[in-house]
């Protein structure tokens, strides 16, 4: 078992069984359909054009590649879309470092070479994103290789294990063939996904949002800078965009659609399920910088006659965001807001207790209350959620503290 790097292999002489040099390594290919990390073949530049040396015909690879087959037996190379070419697709390209949660550029690729029977098994183990790979490539051919190796040993490595690497590929068909699914990325916190996506060029952003799970995409989208967010949704086809928007909180969805052209937001609304569409369309009617523009319609409200147990039942079935859970609202006749109970009170009260007995004086504002006043209310009453009630006192929606923090930070 030994480590060999891509930059050492590229350009290395390829010898046939007799020991004479027949060509030089130009590319190293993995066939993800067969094996996710194992090298399938080398592309060798020979005097007879580009030839393929299959991995099971490689006996050793350092300092030069020794093949166990004659040059005459090497097939002509025909390019295939489904193979991952390490130099073209990986070296110098940007990748997502799932572990470090950022976008990085590949300086070199490390492979593990293990002899098996009469040949060598080469597996990609990690990508080098640090100074070691950079200096190796800078000095290659200029400094004798043993001196270089000794020198590089002294540099602390900065490598990302292969399982934490998510490749970026903008062609959807090729993404399928290469089995790129952004599994690692999808497992990150939506806010981290948002940070990563903001660092990517537009085509790569689109690739990520075409591929990842709709629910994850929706949560990440809510965290992305509004300008970038609009550009991403614009680039998706309206079908896919509608699927993602459906998963978003209605208030966030309305904010997003407001940033799009009328034609586009119309198309997306049309593709959405009727239920979600109505809610979002309703929110869209209000001005963006008012309480109604900030509010979400996903909140918990129970009749004023309900007991603690009913509230807990409602909590269990609630599908909206966690932030909205902090307060349970009590409504009377015709959805009229009559009280508010904090989650804490519910947690410490007996199941049969009347909610109306636990209710506190609640704070509500009108739908057309401007941003400034909303923020002032949150500040003054130390709120976690704020109810929005219409002119008849009916509960229309709620504003959560996280929305207010976002709003304040975006203003500066």
């Amino acid at each position: 078992m030994s480590v060999v790097t891509l930059s050492e292999l590229l350009g290395a002489a390829v010898r046939d069984p007799s020991g004479s040099v027949r060509g030089r390594v130009r590319e190293i290919a993995i066939a993800p359909q067969d094996h996710a990390t194992r090298v399938a073949y080398l592309i060798v530049r020979t005097s007879n054009g580009e030839r393929v040396v299959r991995a099971d015909a490689v006996k050793s690879c350092s300092p030069s590649v020794r093949a166990s087959s004659d040059a005459a037996a090497w097939d002509t190379h025909t390019p295939s879309d489904g193979d991952l070419l390490l130099k073209r697709d990986l070296l110098d390209q940007q990748i997502i470092d799932v572990h470090g949660r950022k976008v990085v550029r590949v300086n070199d690729v490390e492979l593990d070479a293990t002899p098996l029977n009469s040949h060598l098994i080469l597996n990609v183990t990690s990508v080098d994103v640090g100074a070691r790979g950079a200096i190796r490539r800078l000095a290659k051919g200029l400094v004798p290789s043993f001196t270089l190796r000794a020198l590089l040993e002294k540099i602390p490595p900065r490598v990302i294990p292969w399982q934490f690497v998510d490749l970026l590929e903008t062609d959807p068909a090729r993404r399928v063939k290469l089995k790129i699914a952004y599994e690692g990325l999808s497992k990150l916190h939506p806010a981290d996904i948002a940070d990563i996506v903001e660092d990517l060029p537009p085509a790569e952003r689109e690739a990520v949002f075409e591929t990842i799970d709709e629910e994850v995409a929706a949560e990440a989208l809510e965290e992305i800078d509004p300008k970038v967010r609009a550009a991403i949704v614009e680039s998706l086809d309206s079908d896919r965009a509608a699927d993602i928007v459906e998963e978003m909180d209605p208030d966030a969805a309305a904010d997003l659609l407001e940033d799009l052209s009328e034609k586009q937001s119309g198309e997306i609304l049309e593709q959405m399920e009727p239920e979600g569409r109505e809610e979002v369309a309703h929110l869209l009617e209000f001005g963006e910088r008012t309480a109604a523009g900030r509010m979400t319609t996903e909140y918990i409200a129970v009749p004023e006659t309900a007991v603690v147990d009913d509230a807990i039942e409602a909590l269990k079935h609630f599908e909206g965001s966690r932030e909205a859970l902090a307060t349970i609202y009590l409504t009377g006749d015709g959805q009229k807001l009559v009280g508010a109970v904090t989650l804490v009170k519910i947690a410490i009260s007996s199941p049969a207790a009347q909610l109306s007995d636990l209710s506190e004086p609640y704070i509500a504002c009108a739908p057309d209350t401007p941003d400034d006043e909303v923020a002032a209310l949150f500040d003054k009453y130390n709120l976690i959620t704020l109810a929005v009630a219409d002119e008849h006192g009916r509960l229309a929606g709620i504003i959560t503290a996280d929305d207010v923090i976002t709003m304040l930070r975006h203003r500066r």
């Binding site: 390209q93 990085v104 994103v129 950079a134 490539r137 537009p202 085509a203 550009a231």
Partner: protein, 417 residues
Amino acid sequence: MTFSWKSWKTRLLMFAAVVGPGLIAGEGGNDAGGIWTYSVAGARFGYSLLWAMIPATAALIVVQEMAARMGAVTGKGLSDLIREEFGFRVTFFLMAALVATNFGNVMAEFAGVASSLALFDLPRQIVVPLAAAAVWTLVVRGTYDSVEKIFLISSIFFVCYIFAGILAHPDWKAAAFATVTQPETLTVRNYGHVYVYTLIALVGTTIAPWMQFYLQASIVEKGVTVRQYRASRWDVIIGALFAAVIAWFIIVACAATLHLTGQTEIRDAADAAMALKPLAGEFAYLLFAAGLFNASLFAATVLPISTAYAVCEGLGFESGLDKKFHEAPVFYWLYTLLIVLGAGVLLLPNIPLVQIMFFSQVVNGVMLPFVLIFMLLLVNDRELMGTHVNSRGFNIIAWITVASMMGLTVAMLLTQR
């Protein structure tokens, strides 16, 4: 055809959304070194170098348009593309050269700040550190939008030079004529090789390498996409034309005064302002001096940050003003050192400001053809640009620009001695 106000309104709105990068990059060419070169050209040769402004502007438009188009189509900066297509080693040496070149430019900009403020009797030892601190703070503390707005206002301030030109009471007819016709061979021969040499500097200062990196990066930063690109193209063209008009007025102002009265040898741009005083009046002098200060500070702000971005993105270091110092140490150190050292050099006693200015122009000229060749290779790569590769006519103009810039640069190096 009916006139549709609505479609015009949409177009205007689209333009307003993308305006900025082209205008700022174009104006970047009229930095301290640029104003110095234009002043010298006018003082030495009167109107007889004005003809060069038209081909130089055409070349500027072609080059800037390519940079902007690459930014819009790929969504990546120039140094990113060079890294991805040409590998680590090429990028490393190019970036090293870019840092060296731009360091020279930063020095020249602070020299411009120093000499323009010296006209107001402000000592160099005080104004240079102040300017450096102001530049550093503005960029690090400001957001992209606010910084861009400051730049846009600053680039409008360049009209100072138009007024200075008008106050110089030039012979408009002669100036216009000299712009569209080449001077007689006899005149040129009388001037000798200095004429050719100034011509080189003139074209070289109009298209500086760093402007291409800056332009492409800010198109990306602004999020301009292929669909908005038509509007962005106008931003680039208008920016280049505006820059050319300013340059024209600087030449004319110096030609109508200094050249006419025989003061053909000026040391620097501040010198030109000084000499304008008795000839064109106190106001023209003030405008000229204020313009120089504005231009120098403007370029001193854009240059270091665009260099830090280009280098870090190309070599894969963390970059961005949204990162903390410890998250992107190379980025911040490079940016800070460019400013501190670039300004610090000017505090040394007996620093030859003029030579610094001159040296930075030469290095720009040497660097430019290399950057242009990379740009041309990239912009014609179908895998990268799809249908947005250069048209044949465009390629011809672009390659002629490269060839003549290389020819001019070689000629410049040969006549250097």
